[in-house]
């Protein structure tokens, strides 16, 4: 990194820019007038929020934009919101979230071009008010740049985001302010999408014209990445760090070409150089991706950043097309906050609207039916009924969805401006996604029942009683269930076979279902935070798991099992038909940091990721952890403020997590090599 970037990084690291934050008590009444429609309230609130912003230029600033105003109160009073929630289904916080805006078009055209297409209608007036607020913020930033004598920055801000960007720097500055305003609108988990595809035309032009060197471009990318880490503590999420600032690198373009380019590589290098939690890198690969690309990704893994997360185009593109996504859109997929596949500029999918607890349904079937079952097949029939019923019940509960409108965000989605239909009401794709938590423990439970009850003759009563007693006084049985029975992750069909069938049931259960917006329902292998919640709903289980032990996060083996190694793990977890699990959810492998004691390991870990891709895996993500360091960080958080870990679908600072998430990370099976 250059000296300029180093200074800026230090500055941000010391959180000196927090000193510019204003302690404001904002009166929401100007945007809560009774006669104002919801979209007009959102626009007025955004306008107020941006007008309160004081332009701040940090030392050595290249890409400006620093939040000084914490989030304003929402557009509804508590009473109004209570009335709405009484009659509507509200997803999470109620705001637009987890989308991939079409930045490329807006950066290319500029906001004024969009403004010129607006009519005098009330909805268009809200869009216009939003655009004007962003342009006014840019104007004030430009004045601050002039006042500070930064002519170059002032020129950039004179151009963008009002007009189309011409250079890489203009494109990055435009993106920064466009993205900045989304958070102020109340939208969250605002992803950054296919950054390399968005920016490459500008870099190409600059390089061809000889107006920018590659080193200068790299510095700009790093400056932009730094900007992404500036305000993220103000962004809403389940935990600090869960802010949705994902980028997607590489992968097929809508035309079918390979999108991996110079910028993809620069972004990977910048991320390794800066070692910060944002943006969170996704790397799209396929069976022809050269090993060198995986090696570059593995350099980030080695640093313990918890990314890149890899997506396999060979599985994802056909999987998305199978769900009804058009070919060009399927090829153009990006990632939501964690691992959910979403379509830039066209998708209003809600990929985390609910979750199936595989562990929960299998446990219920075992408890209800083991006494009378004559084989595991009997139990599986009941499991299938329960999965179908669970999915239908979840969907039935998702009626009368209301999302707070976002006229500004709507500018980034196809057709919203013309149809005057807010993005909160839907777009080209309006699919719902369900996570699938605890697949491996569920398979392990069935494998343990098969082995002990149906092969070894253990009485169902004895097993169920032991489970009810949380294995008190049944240490030997618990040991047998936990350590002698087949486990998913050891390339043993006796366990993996059940996982294949369970995932198949889930994907058949959602097939043909339609939500109230006309979209389909997508099955996935992710967990989000449900791995904590679903575990709390379980007692002791037939796989020897005691009550209170968490479920694994995402698509991963049970906690506390003995694993043969990462190769078996990959073989097990590529047996299910993952083309049909297109809501996503990565296989997560934890490595001890001793794996990387020399550079040879980089190539070998890269080969392991490639094996997963060649075998038809959909998503994979590797973590490098040092358990002693994590334990020490719990004792002495002040000494480990920079320690980055992967939580469920995102990377954050370990010491900022709630203890239950910290403990889970410490307990995950950790492979020494």
């Amino acid at each position: 990194m250059t000296e300029r970037i180093r200074i800026l990084r230090e500055y941000q690291w010391a959180r000196k820019h927090h000193a510019f934050r204003q302690d404001l008590q904002v009166d929401p009444s100007p945007y809560r007038a009774a006669d104002m429609p919801d979209y007009a309230r959102t626009a007025r609130r955004l306008s107020l929020a941006l007008s309160l912003e004081r332009p701040v230029l940090l030392p050595g600033e290249l890409i400006a934009g620093t939040r000084t105003v914490p989030a304003l109160p929402g557009i509804y009073s508590d009473e109004e919101w209570a009335r709405i929630t009484a009659t509507h289904f509200i997803h999470e916080r109620g705001n637009v979230c987890n989308l991939s805006p079409d930045y490329a078009s807006v950066i290319a055209s500029g906001l004024l071009a969009l403004r010129a297409r607006l009519t005098d209608s009330p909805y268009h007036a809200a869009m216009r008010e939003s655009i004007d607020a962003v342009l006014d913020l840019a104007r004030r930033y430009r004045e601050a740049a002039l006042a500070a004598g930064d002519e170059a920055l002032a020129q950039v801000l004179a151009r963008v985001p009002a007009h189309g960007a011409r250079t890489l720097r203009e494109a990055l500055q435009s993106l920064r302010l466009l993205h900045f305003a989304m958070w102020c609108e109340g939208d969250y988990h605002n992803t950054l999408g296919r950054l390399d595809q968005t920016l490459m035309p500008y870099l190409r032009r600059d390089l061809d014209a000889g107006t920018l060197t590659q080193d200068e471009a790299f510095e700009l990318i790093e400056a932009f990445f730094l900007a992404c880490n500036r305000d993220s503590d103000l962004y809403p999420g389940m935990q600090q760090g869960d802010n949705g600032q994902s980028v997607v690198l590489g992968g097929m373009t809508p035309d079918g070409a390979d999108g991996y380019n110079l910028l993809s590589e620069m972004c990977l290098r910048a991320s390794a150089d800066l070692r910060l939690i944002d943006p969170k890198i996704n790397l799209r690969v396929n069976r022809d991706t050269p090993l060198s690309v995986y090696e570059l990704g593995t350099q980030l893994t080695k640093l313990g950043l918890g990314f890149p997360q890899y997506e396999n185009d060979d599985v994802a593109i056909p999987g998305l097309m199978r769900l009804g996504y058009e070919e060009r859109d399927a090829r153009n997929y990006a990632m939501a906050a964690c691992w959910e596949f979403i379509i830039p500029g066209r998708g209003m999918d809600i990929p985390n609207i609910g979750a199936l607890s595989f562990a929960g349904v299998v446990d219920a079937a075992v408890r209800a039916g083991l006494r009378t079952a004559s084989s595991v097949e009997d139990l599986l029939q009941d499991v299938e009924r329960r999965i179908f019923a669970d999915v239908r019940a979840t969907l039935a509960g998702l009626k009368n969805l209301y999302i707070i409108p976002s006229p500004y965000m709507s500018l980034f989605f196809e057709g919203c401006l013309e149809s005057q239909r807010d993005i909160s009401l839907g777009c080209r794709y309006n699919n719902y996604g369900l996570h699938g938590t605890g697949l491996a423990p569920a398979a392990d439970m069935l494998a343990a029942v098969q082995r002990t009850v149906f092969e070894e003759g253990l009485s169902p009563e004895e097993l169920l009683r032991a489970m009810d007693d949380n294995f008190q006084g049944e240490g030997e049985l618990r040991h047998h269930l936990q350590f002698d029975c087949p486990k998913m992750g050891n390339d043993d069909d006796a366990a993996d076979g059940y996982a294949v069938r369970l995932l198949d049931m889930f994907s058949r259960a959602v097939e043909g279902l339609r939500n109230e917006r006309g979209g389909c329902v997508r099955a996935g292998t992710g967990s989000a935070m449900f791995y904590i919640r679903h575990a709390q709903a379980l007692g002791a289980t037939a796989d020897g798991r005691e009550a209170g032990v968490p479920l694994p996060a995402n698509y991963a083996p049970s906690l506390n099992v003995r694993l043969d190694g990462p190769v078996s793990l990959i073989r097990s977890f590529t047996k299910p038909d993952l083309v049909r699990a297109m809501n996503g959810g990565p296989l997560t492998i934890e490595f001890s940091d001793t794996v990387f004691k020399n550079d040879e390991a980089i190539e070998k870990v890269a080969q392991l990721v490639r094996l997963f891709v060649l075998r038809g895996g959909h998503q994979i993500q590797l973590n490098t952890v040092n358990r002693d360091q994590l334990l020490d960080a719990q004792r002495h958080p002040e000494l480990h403020r920079n320690l980055i870990v992967r939580v469920w679908g995102w990377s954050g600072y370990f010491v900022e997590l709630d203890k239950c998430y910290q403990d889970h990370i410490i307990r995950r099976v950790n492979l020494n090599v």
Binding site: H479, V567, Q607, L608, R610, V673
Partner: protein, 283 residues
């Protein structure tokens, strides 16, 4: 069919040869190196391994033991009684057919990564008929051996022909010191090092660098002499001693009492190799 005793099969072995490999740890070794970090590889017989760090001394294992007052005969009766799963048997009998089938499962990964199978231990050549028969069942797979070189000339010659790569330890060149620190004569080992240097099997000379024992210029210069001019030498690999080497002794119910200072930093003397133009790598 031959049978052998294996104490571990390690997937994704990163430091046991080229590419991604699976390493088979053969049980039993004629040497007693003071720095050995695989004490469960010494005895050829199965033995009980107990992780003591998280043991709560609940007594369940003792209650389950059929002969609590006799020395442990590794009957394994206590294993399933440990509520924390801290006990296991090191040492499992395999047929060559079953072992080969297990190893061939990953042939796609070996091919993809330029990897293969490595036999380590213990001393793999101690169970040579079994290892030879297993190798014969692995056609087309790159195979490597990590050996002390302490074997008969006939076995070593056969092994040179059978493996794709030989990794030979050269621990000490002084006969007396070698006998003192490893328990055996080094004459056959040095003879086998010269056979490798004159032969056409790719080989690596490995030196476990032990502080104050062999991390001196004179030993490394002797290694250089063995390596210099050998047509098929891939490189010399130095493996600096780690203080964690003693970790498994307590698990195996053995005492770790090395005579050297385990905390002393190791000298690598890479310049000795550089001057002689011998390729070297520190692992």
């Amino acid at each position: 069919m031959e049978q052998g005793t294996v104490f571990d099969i390690k997937e994704f072995a990163v430091y046991d040869g080229p590419g991604v490999r699976t390493t088979v740890f053969m049980k039993g070794c004629p040497l007693r190196c003071q720095w050995c970090h695989n004490p469960e590889g010494l005895s050829p017989r199965p033995q009980l391994m107990v992780s003591t760090a998280s043991c709560t001394h609940c007594g369940a294992c003792r209650a389950a033991c059929p002969h609590p007052d006799a020395p442990c005969d590794a009957c394994g009766a206590c294993i399933s009684h440990c509520p924390l799963g801290l006990r296991r048997l090191a040492g499992k009998r395999w047929t060559s057919e079953a072992l080969a089938a297990r190893l061939l499962r990953d042939r796609d990964l070996y091919a993809q990564s330029g990897g293969g199978v490595t036999f380590s231990g213990g001393e793999p050549l101690m169970q040579w008929p079994f290892v030879r028969e297993t190798l014969a069942r692995l056609p087309g797979v790159h195979t490597a051996v990590e050996t002390s070189g302490y074997a008969s000339d006939a076995v070593f010659e056969e092994a040179m022909r059978a493996f794709s790569l030989v990794m030979l330890d050269v621990k000490l060149t002084d006969p007396e010191r070698h006998r003192h620190f490893t328990g055996v004569d080094n004459a056959p080992i040095l003879r086998h090092a010269r056979m490798l240097a004159a032969g056409d099997t790719p080989f690596i000379l490995r030196v476990p660098l032990i502080p104050g024992v062999n991390d001196c210029e004179s030993h490394l210069a002797a290694v250089v002499e063995l390596a210099r001019g050998a047509a098929r030498l891939v490189r010399v690999e130095l493996l600096p001693y780690h203080q964690t080497a003693g970790a498994k002794y307590e698990m195996a119910g053995m005492a770790y009492r090395p005579e050297f200072d385990t905390a002393q930093p190791v000298q690598t003397h890479l310049d000795v190799f550089e001057r002689a133009g011998v390729p070297v790598r520190v692992l």
